[in-house]
Symmetry: C2
Subunit: 327 residues, 2 copies
Amino acid sequence: MILDFQTLQEKFRELLIKYGFPPVQAMQIADVFAETTIDGVFSHGINRFPRFIGDVMDGTVKPGVEPELIQSFSALEQWDGKQGAGISNAIFCADRCMELASSYGIGCVGLRNTNHWMRGGSYGWRAAERGFLFLGWTNTLPNMPPWGGSNTVLGNNPFVMAMPRKDGHLVLDMAMSQYSFGKLEWQKRTGEELPEYGGYNLDNKLTKDPAEILESMRILPAGLWKGSALALVLDLAAGIISGGNTTRKIGELKSETDLSQVFIAVDIERHMTPEQREKLMQETIDHMKENNEQVRYPGQRSQRDRNTHLEKGVNIPDDIWSGILKL
Amino acid sequence: MILDFQTLQEKFRELLIKYGFPPVQAMQIADVFAETTIDGVFSHGINRFPRFIGDVMDGTVKPGVEPELIQSFSALEQWDGKQGAGISNAIFCADRCMELASSYGIGCVGLRNTNHWMRGGSYGWRAAERGFLFLGWTNTLPNMPPWGGSNTVLGNNPFVMAMPRKDGHLVLDMAMSQYSFGKLEWQKRTGEELPEYGGYNLDNKLTKDPAEILESMRILPAGLWKGSALALVLDLAAGIISGGNTTRKIGELKSETDLSQVFIAVDIERHMTPEQREKLMQETIDHMKENNEQVRYPGQRSQRDRNTHLEKGVNIPDDIWSGILKL
């Protein structure tokens, strides 16, 4: 079924209001779900929406809650997300770290007790759109064994890095596993093998079958020991900067909640003129693509999909859409 | 040959003074080369020292030069390394971002026109030792093809993240390639295969032979498309924040110089008490090692090697030491 952005946005908003969100928050959250879907990232867009409503119904996500300031010192702040919606909490903190960056050159916000922020890249796109360089990350429930071990004790803790560019922002959004769970679930749906090894099956063999990996819950860290080590330090840094939980503690909760996140923005207007910056970026991208035309920069595919889908609508599988209509 | 820390340190210092470094800078640089060697990271320690002296002799590294402030706005500063020694420039900027963090909660320094900082982890250890959470990265000359391409146009741009801990700091120091060139060179020396694929040979086949990879100069990005994308955004961010070169431009120079680096420190004393922080870290590390005893946290092996080598001395291959004595 071909749907346009407005249809998705309005349906999401209507449902969020029905499930208890005040209008402004409903609009914010609906926008992010619709944008993520339009960008072609179904796994954290429309496919995830019913589960999000489930989280609201079982009390994991509390509609209408706003973050509360815990500590503030110049360019560094700590906020409590109070189990509100991950999207609205993350938008708030991304905006807050940009305000701090405008005042101090760089700004950092730690957010604790929040919920899943869905597509981490959303906050990178948001910051880039406003002219900031952005770094951010979240922890998750335990879903990845450390390199060299078999117990699933690390989170795959997505890391986001973004920067503005006139002809398409650069937005990197990477989980510390070679594949995100959203990708594995989507790939399982399509019945296709993964292009590369994505984890271990129950017999402890590397596999490209997404169903086997979802069964074992043993995903492969990206870069083997590197993704494993980075996942650990991102988790600890999120816990320390926010004063919140690390993955270990999150794994003891009844569902994935009370997450810790970090948002950092740099006010790059102070460093070089926009013209200089555009030139520097374009020269590097051109150089990368020289005799490597097929190589993409991070954010390029989302931008392309967004442009196509805004113009022609996006093809949503019938069963997914009918699931939404039944909510 | 078994040598102790003081012997290494004094020899390096003596040579640095001989090749034109003023005493304070010679001491700083000698300390980092000796510490890196004692930590077991020969590739960026003693093995690299003769090449560093070569860079001084051919004018790439300018002894005695100090960084110069270009721009300052509250917690964000831009410095020009003026082609001074990478180690002394990086120590200066790491210390400077910690001062900014003490004043503003978080501090960020961009450094341009600097030289190779040797082991990036050195600045992570330094910040952790002083109680700061640290993030930093550098760009490099082009030494890695992007995922999906064959031209060697990206740097492997090492990224460092560190945090203090009473029983051993956590210090992650990772190049964006699965293996660093230092590791490949060291492994080639020992004649051993790499444990995992590290790059492509001249026939475009994945290989574990370090010599073949050093011949093709086609190293594999860590996490395939992930390390490739992260390398690109780290390079651009370093260029933008420092106002300096990206890898593309560095590749046009006669040698690897005029690099761009970023140093970020967070004053984490403000977030939780040291006791709370130690508890949070220890619980997470204990949890990671539960039934995964062999799994190490980043920094663990360096700390162990350091303790052993400080007590018993470090075994330096005779040909390496005699090379040093001939300088």
